[in-house]
Assembly symmetry: C2
C-alpha cells in the first residue's frame, strides 16, 4: 500500500535511517534545529527549498518528496470538507484546462 506519511514524518524517517542528528540536518539545511524539529512534527510548514535540499542530502528523487509535501497542503486545505472528492475532481479539471489554454497561447 502507498505510504501515507506526512512530509514531516517522511523527513524524520529519512533522517533516522541515516542516523543523522536533527541538529546536523538542520545545519545542512541552514535552518534552526527547533524549526526542523517542528517541521518533522508538523508544527511548522516546510517549504520547497527545504524539500529540495533534503532530497539532495539523502539522494532521493525530489518528486516523491514534493508529492508528499503538496498532498499534505491539499489535505490540510480541504480535509474537513465532505465534498473533498468532488473538489479534487474539479480542481484537476481546472488545472488541465489552464494548461491547455497555456499551451495554445505558446
Amino acid at each position: 500500500m502507498k505510504n501515507l506519511d506526512s512530509i514531516g514524518e517522511q523527513i524524520r524517517k529519512l533522517r533516522e535511517k541515516a542516523e543523522m542528528p536533527l541538529r546536523k540536518l538542520a545545519s545542512l539545511l541552514e535552518i534552526d534545529q527547533s524549526t526542523l524539529s517542528k517541521i518533522e512534527r508538523g508544527e511548522r510548514k516546510a517549504n520547497i527549498q527545504i524539500i529540495e535540499q533534503i532530497a539532495q542530502v539523502f539522494s532521493i528523487d525530489k518528486k516523491k518528496l514534493l508529492v508528499n509535501f503538496y498532498s499534505d497542503i491539499v489535505s490540510y486545505e480541504i480535509g474537513e470538507e465532505n465534498t473533498y472528492s468532488e473538489i479534487l475532481k474539479v480542481a484537476e479539471a481546472k488545472i488541465e484546462y489552464k494548461r491547455a489554454l497555456k499551451n495554445k497561447t505558446l
Copy 2:
C-alpha cells in the same frame, strides 16, 4: 461539460443574472464594494462566510459554490506542479485515511 468558472466568475454571473449591482450585493454581504469587485475578478480571496451568504442571497445550493471555492484554492496551490495528478491522488488517500482513523476513535 462541467463548468470551470472560478468562484469569482461564478459570483459575477449569479449577480448579473439577478441584475443586481455590485454595490448592492456588497452591502448585503456587508463588505466593501471594492472588495467584492476584487473577489469577482480573482484579485482577492473570498471566504467561507461570504460564499455561504451568497448561496443564501441567490437561493442556490451552497455545496456547489463551496466546491468551486475550494477547487480554486487547490488549483492555485498545486497548479504549477507537473505532478498535480499524483498529488491529488495522494491527497485523497490521505484524507480518506484521516477520516477512517477518526471514525475508529469515535
